[in-house]
Amino acid sequence: MPYDRIVLTVLLVLGAVFVAATLATSWLLSPKKPSPEKAETYECGAEPIGPPWVQFKAGYYVYALLYVIFDIETVFLYPWAVTFSQRGVGWFIFVEMVIFVAILLGGLVYAWKEGALTWR
């Protein structure tokens, strides 16, 4: 297997093992004494009032959506930035990325004007 493939598989395996190991240790070693009072929702030491499953404000969902979009955009920027200097024809790649970013910015401007980002 070519060298970089090995590095990638080792990285993935190590990541998975690390996550599984920490979860397993804490599950194995932590004392478990469940009780109905302990299962109550913690609301500053007082009795929670009203059902929590209510029709909640959509603002939070829109915020999260915008965040995810721009998070993925940065993920795409990374490989582009790494390989940008090696290739011969730099200009073409640069313009392509600018178009990609511009499209996403268009989406942001639309969301901003629609008032998705204001809390009131």
Binding site: P48, P51, P52
Partner: protein
């Protein structure tokens, strides 16, 4: 899968649909007044309100205050304060304590500014037995009161930074407060529960060691105060969080009987030290900081300026401390004649009054302790509707409430 909105709806009886929520967490039948659940029969986009407990155990309620907040997303629709988690009956216990022992109860009322509480009771008792504290006692009282005021403002300033998200100022505030507590301990013997001001005078004279510490404190604190103001007040995030938030106009301040820095931040310069001079305040020269906007930032700057004035007063007290007795000749067991008296003091939270009714025996017949923080909490509660949740925390913090005083 049935319509999810149906599951959340309380179906008349308190029983919850099987498995979703344990029965106990449903809303009690009677909702506190002022809180109304969202209208049933929600159309497509309208949102239901959520009632949240900013409860007795909460890092930013400055004590055991429980605020029931009705939230629509981030916006507070209605809020109701529920107090009484620290009700210890100071007024009832005072009816069975001798006049010299009531000071210990008063210390534990507003536990951050003990000297002011004791002085309010001492002034009321002195009016009843018609005794005037000697001049040196009055100067010592003013000196200790101003030191206690700075210590109390620092305990308000630290958590004010925490409320707006700044961890640093809390540690600076505690560093300066420790210096002040050392001075208070040298003179009175205790860091918080001084029992120093008695009817007739004070407990003990000032020691040279304490005097030296006060002089060292005076040299460094002005520069520290500028540093505090620059760190927090200069920060534009802090200003964005404080300016224009929780505006209390003049009519609301007078209507809700606000006193102290909260009132002076709304433009009315009523200060018990100037309008009803007690102790040595008539002989000290100091100015009363007044702001006009009445928002959280105005209250902040008024209190920071009050600390600077207190430093000025401490310097005058130390330099001009008159000679003489530090307490008047007062019988060990006071038996004031039957009558009523009202003694008021400018505590860091406002006008702290003691209305003392005596029936001639050695214990007061009735002692009413006027809590300035209770009126500040009332205004805070009335400002809640229409505010963002983060600002509700800042408003309650800026009015500087202490739950020991509200619940007495």
């Amino acid at each position: 899968m049935s319509d999810p909105r149906e599951i959340g709806r309380p179906s008349g009886s308190l029983a919850a649909p099987d498995g979703i929520l344990p029965a106990g967490t449903y809303e009690p039948e009677v909702l506190p007044a002022g809180l109304t659940r969202a209208p049933v029969g929600v159309n497509a986009l309208a949102t239901e309100h959520l009632i949240v407990n900013m409860g007795p155990q909460h890092p930013s309620t400055h004590g055991v205050l429980r605020v029931l907040i009705e939230l629509d997303g981030e916006e507070v629709k209605a809020g109701e304060a529920s107090v009484g988690y620290l009700h210890r009956g100071i007024e009832k216990l005072a009816e069975s304590r001798r006049y010299s022992a009531v000071g210990t109860l008063m210390d534990r009322g507003d536990y951050i500014s003990g000297i002011h509480n004791e002085m309010a009771f001492a002034l009321a008792a002195e009016k009843l037995i018609d005794v005037e504290a000697p001049r040196r006692a009055n100067w010592l009282r003013s000196l200790m009161a101003e030191i206690n005021r700075i210590a109390s403002h620092l305990v308000w300033y630290g958590p004010m930074g925490l409320d707006t998200g700044a961890m640093g100022p809390f540690l600076y505030a505690m560093r300066d407060r420790e210096v002040l507590l050392d001075i208070l301990e040298d003179v009175t013997g205790q860091r918080m529960m001084f029992n120093y001001v008695r009817p007739g005078g004070v407990l003990a004279d000032i020691t040279p060691a304490a005097e030296k510490k006060i002089r060292v404190f005076l040299e460094t604190f002005d520069q520290y105060l500028d540093e505090h103001i620059e760190i927090l007040a200069g920060n534009e995030i802090f200003q964005a969080r404080m300016r224009g938030i929780g505006v209390i106009d003049r009519e609301r301040a007078v209507g809700f009987a606000l006193t102290g820095a909260n009132l002076r931040a709304s433009g009315l310069s009523f200060d018990v030290r100037k309008d009803r001079p007690y102790a040595a305040y008539s002989e000290l020269d100091f100015s009363i900081p007044v702001a006009q906007e009445g928002d959280c930032f105005a209250r902040f700057m008024v209190r920071m300026e009050e600390m600077r004035q207190s430093v000025r007063m401490i310097r005058q007290c130390i330099d001009g401390l008159p000679e003489g007795e530090f307490t008047a000749k007062v019988p060990k067991v006071l038996r004031p004649p039957a009558g009523e008296a009202y003694g008021a003091v400018e505590s860091p939270r406002g006008e702290l009054g003691v209305h003392l009714i005596s029936d001639g025996s050695d214990t007061p017949y009735r002692m009413r302790y006027r809590p300035p923080a209770l009126y500040a909490l009332q205004v805070g509660e009335s400002l809640l509707p229409g505010v963002l949740l983060a600002d509700a925390v800042v408003i309650l913090g800026s009015t500087d409430i202490v739950l020991g005083e509200i619940d007495r």
